[in-house]
């Protein structure tokens, strides 16, 4: 079965690793997979997306209205990208906003609750606060692995728990593996208990 997964966030949040893990897990399960990423100037603090397409597809980018799942590392970016989502698609979204640079002058900062309220009105959502769930790991940088765990636990990723965990072992340096596995399990629990 085809599965389109869009990952979005702000440059530097670790979206690329998340997409690589999903793609290689799908390959491991002998599925056809394609993906595409934002590379270049926009990586420097701009909005970034990764498109992962499992199953037969032609366009390297997911067409609007086609994504089964949106993994949003930032609430404003989730809203920016829900045009990609299918009508019955699922959004897993970090509720902690990343203020745009210069937001400090107040006019470009925004209210994250406006974004989460809007998402709730439009689609099926799982909300998660990256600061709270990542507290025990010491950095929000582990959120990319947590969110993969949530998607796996909620059974919306299209690849199995075992293959994703295998990919963590293959792709993450030994030194950081244990903590990343914990982050993945933490997400898995959240996902398993989520109501969507």
């Amino acid at each position: 079965m085809n599965k389109d997964i869009l990952i979005c966030g702000v440059g530097g949040q670790g979206t690329v690793l998340a997409s690589k893990i999903i793609a290689s897990a799908a390959m491991e399960e002998k599925k056809t997979v394609h993906s595409a990423e934002t590379i270049g100037m926009a990586q420097r603090g701009g909005s970034v997306t990764s498109h992962v397409r499992i199953g037969e597809s032609y366009s390297p980018l997911i067409p609007h209205g086609s994504a089964d799942l949106l993994l949003a590392f930032e609430p404003g970016e989730a809203v920016r990208n829900i045009k990609y989502l299918k009508k019955d698609g699922v959004v897993i979204v970090n509720t902690v906003p990343t203020d745009p640079v210069g937001a400090s002058s107040e006019d470009n900062s925004y209210d994250a609750s406006v974004m989460t309220d809007y998402l709730l009105k439009k689609c099926k959502c799982i909300f998660v606060n990256s600061e709270e769930v990542c507290k025990e790991f010491g950095s929000s940088k582990f959120f990319n692995i947590v969110i993969l765990g949530i998607a796996t636990g909620a059974d919306v990723l299209g690849v199995s728990f075992d293959t994703v965990q295998d990919q963590l072992t293959k792709r993450i340096p030994q030194k950081f593996l244990e903590i990343n596995k914990k982050a993945f399990m933490k997400g898995y629990e959240i996902g398993s208990n989520a109501q969507i």
């Binding site: 702000v10 440059g11 530097g12 793609a23 290689s24 390959m27 056809t32 997979v33 394609h34 993906s35 595409a36 990423e37 590379i39 270049g40 100037m41 926009a42 990586q43 420097r44 603090g45 701009g46 909005s47 597809s57 032609y58 366009s59 390297p60 980018l61 067409p63 609007h64 209205g65 086609s66 404003g76 809203v79 920016r80 829900i82 045009k83 989502l85 299918k86 009508k87 203020d99 745009p100 640079v101 210069g102 937001a103 400090s104 002058s105 107040e106 470009n108 900062s109 925004y110 406006v114 974004m115 809007y118 439009k122 689609c123 950095s139 929000s140 940088k141």
Partner: protein
């Protein structure tokens, strides 16, 4: 073996499967990963280099191809402008070993100055061009490009676009790299020395040969027709073909013609493909090249066919195409709705704008800010260049008044100086750009007596394109440690008398250096030297003493570091982003920012 590869990786491994003997290039998005991929796979017997610029790369490769070796050159589309001088001549001379020039186009443009079309360059030079639609195709097509190059003794262009270069797919690749055997250079001045007489003769031969190539390409497998009986036809090329296929899923009532080789235009293929069609709609990014060829064809052969596309305004001239744009146009053309049902987002709340910015801790921020501080209240012009430091234009730094092309900042500062006597002209150039095309500009300034200050932002890497080494880094792509070319010595050697090297993260000393230079006549240079923060280990972290912070936000207003955020209670520093560069610390008027205890190693 199966590999999950980026389009650029597919091009790299495809070239290896073709036994390529030498690959040279200059980094540029979206082409940079081709050479990077090659360096990561076992490649004994392959000469691999980041050349100093695209012109150098092409000349290095041309001589290898004269020797019968297979050679590949990689660059982005604007790099082809730099390499166009040798390429135009090489097209007349031809090659012996297969030679493929990969020039990656960037519709959008996403990371480029122009939306130029490499297929037009192929036409201009009169050499073949291949246009892959997917990474899978790119792997096969690059090998075909080498075959055609050798068969017709001509350099061949290969033109992927961003969405092909940066898309990933699983590809079955050759396990072992076997470099081609070749004869070596054989002297033959009638063949390898270009003279007017040779160009005259070869010009005629090339036009004749191109007729044969067009015939040959008319049966090329990637030029294809589906559903040839339909009255309505669509022509597509490159990634646009993938978009059309995505839209047409299941629809078989339209004739889909794909052109993978725009030049020499495969006329007999197209005549056959269009037979019996009433109208044809062309989808191609950048210029309406194929559309124009079909119009020419229909004029010469008096075809009763309506040609639609960019030229009649249906398909946009600028920007990328997408499934959405193609679907909308196809809906009109085919009279059926082929789009997907979408969530209504017409009531979306306003979203924050996120322009790209210099990273937290980027030393360029210090360089720009020091010049800004030193020249406060004085009339000065700031000529920028191509690289991360183009981002110095963003507020609040606002330190880039001009930016044109690689190396232009240095020479434009001279032009500004010659006609604006009351202002001080500055040029900002990165280390890699300095080597690529900056040095001749400095010589020009010395020779023609310009008054200017050159600021070399030396972060010891080619940062914007993904941290490639260059002559100043002491490493090359053969994995060897080599002598570093010293920028300060180069500048002194070409006649710059005042050359200062400072640490841009030391604000006081940097401002002093700029003030000193501004008081002198002639060409002065300041090398702001500090490693790119994306590859250097951060030196520590800064923190705000909330007791002392008066919430004036001067730090944020002056330097706009992404790690700084304003809150009601005062400024806060994002510990995940801060690298401890200390620039904000030097700006704070009440000394509220300091090193986080124990963060310095």
């Amino acid at each position: 073996m199966k590999e999950y590869l980026m389009g650029n990786g597919a091009i790299a491994l495809g070239a290896m499967a073709a036994g390529v003997n030498l690959v040279a290039g200059y980094p540029g998005t979206p082409s940079s990963e081709i050479i990077e991929t090659l360096s990561k796979y076992p490649h004994e017997g392959l000469h691999l280099e980041w050349s100093v610029n695209e012109k150098a790369a092409l000349e290095v490769a041309a001589a290898a191809a004269y020797s019968g070796a297979r050679a590949m050159v990689t660059m982005k589309q604007v790099g082809l402008n730099v390499a166009s001088d040798p390429l135009m001549s090489l097209a007349y001379v031809g090659v012996k070993g297969g030679m493929v020039i990969v020039s990656a186009d960037d519709p959008g443009p996403i990371s480029s100055q122009t939306e130029q079309d490499t297929r037009r360059f192929a036409d201009f030079c009169r050499i073949p061009v291949f246009d892959p639609a997917t990474p899978e195709e790119a792997y096969v097509m690059i090998q075909d490009a080498f075959e055609y190059s050798e068969k017709y003794s001509t350099p061949v262009l290969f033109r992927p676009t961003t969405r092909v270069c940066h898309a990933y797919a699983s590809i079955d690749v050759e396990d072992i790299y076997k470099p081609r055997e070749y004869e070596g250079f054989v002297k033959d001045s009638k063949r390898w020395v270009i003279f007017p007489r040779l160009s005259y003769i070869n010009h005629g031969n090339i036009e004749k040969r191109n007729v044969s190539i067009a015939e040959d390409l008319s049966s090329y497998g990637f030029n294809s027709v589906a559903c040839p009986a339909a009255k309505k036809a669509i022509v597509a090329s490159g990634v646009s073909y993938s978009y059309v296929k995505e839209c047409l899923k299941g629809n078989t009532d339209v004739r889909l013609i794909r052109v993978a080789t725009a030049f020499p235009f495969p006329e007999s293929f197209m005549l056959e493909a269009l037979k019996g069609a009433d109208e044809v709609l062309c989808f191609e990014e950048l210029s309406p090249y194929i559309e124009e060829q079909i119009l020419k064809l229909s004029g010469r052969h008096k075809l009763a066919i309506e040609v639609r596309g960019k030229l009649d305004g249906e398909v946009p001239h600028n920007g990328e195409l997408s499934v959405e744009i193609v679907a909308k146009i196809l809906k009109e053309y085919l009279g059926e709705d082929i789009g997907l049902e979408q969530i209504d987002v017409s009531d979306s709340p306003g979203l924050p704008v996120r322009p790209p910015v210099l990273c937290a801790g980027c030393p360029h921020r210090g360089s720009f800010y020091a010049v800004k501080r030193a020249m406060q209240g004085k009339k000065a012009y700031f000529c920028g260049d191509i690289g991360c430091y183009t981002l110095g234009n963003a507020m609040p730094l606002d330190m880039v008044d001009t930016c044109l092309c690689m190396g232009a900042g240095i020479t434009m500062a001279q032009g500004l100086d010659h006609v604006n006597e009351d202002a001080t002209s500055f040029a900002f150039v990165g280390d890699s750009t300095f080597f690529a095309s900056g040095i001749t500009g400095v010589i020009n300034a010395v020779y023609n007596e310009a008054d200017m200050i050159l600021c070399v932002l030396d972060n010891s890497t080619t940062a914007m394109t993904g941290h490639q080494p260059h002559p100043g880094t002491g490493k090359n792509m053969m994995g060897n440690i080599v002598d570093k070319v010293d920028i300060e010595k180069v500048l002194r050697g070409i006649g710059v008398k005042t050359v200062m090297t400072v640490d841009p993260l030391d604000l006081k000393k940097s401002v002093e250096a700029v003030k000193d230079c501004a008081s002198l006549k002639g060409v002065k240079a300041i090398i702001f030297k500090s490693p790119c923060i994306a590859i250097a280990k951060p030196s520590g972290k800064c923190c705000v003493d909330s007791e002392k912070c008066i919430n004036c936000k001067k730090c944020i207003r002056e330097i706009g570091c992404p790690a700084l955020a304003g809150t009601e209670k005062g400024v806060s520093i994002d510990m995940d982003l801060c690298t401890g560069c200390g620039l904000c610390e030097q700006i704070c008027p009440v000394e509220a920012i300091r090193d986080l205890e124990g963060s310095r190693s």
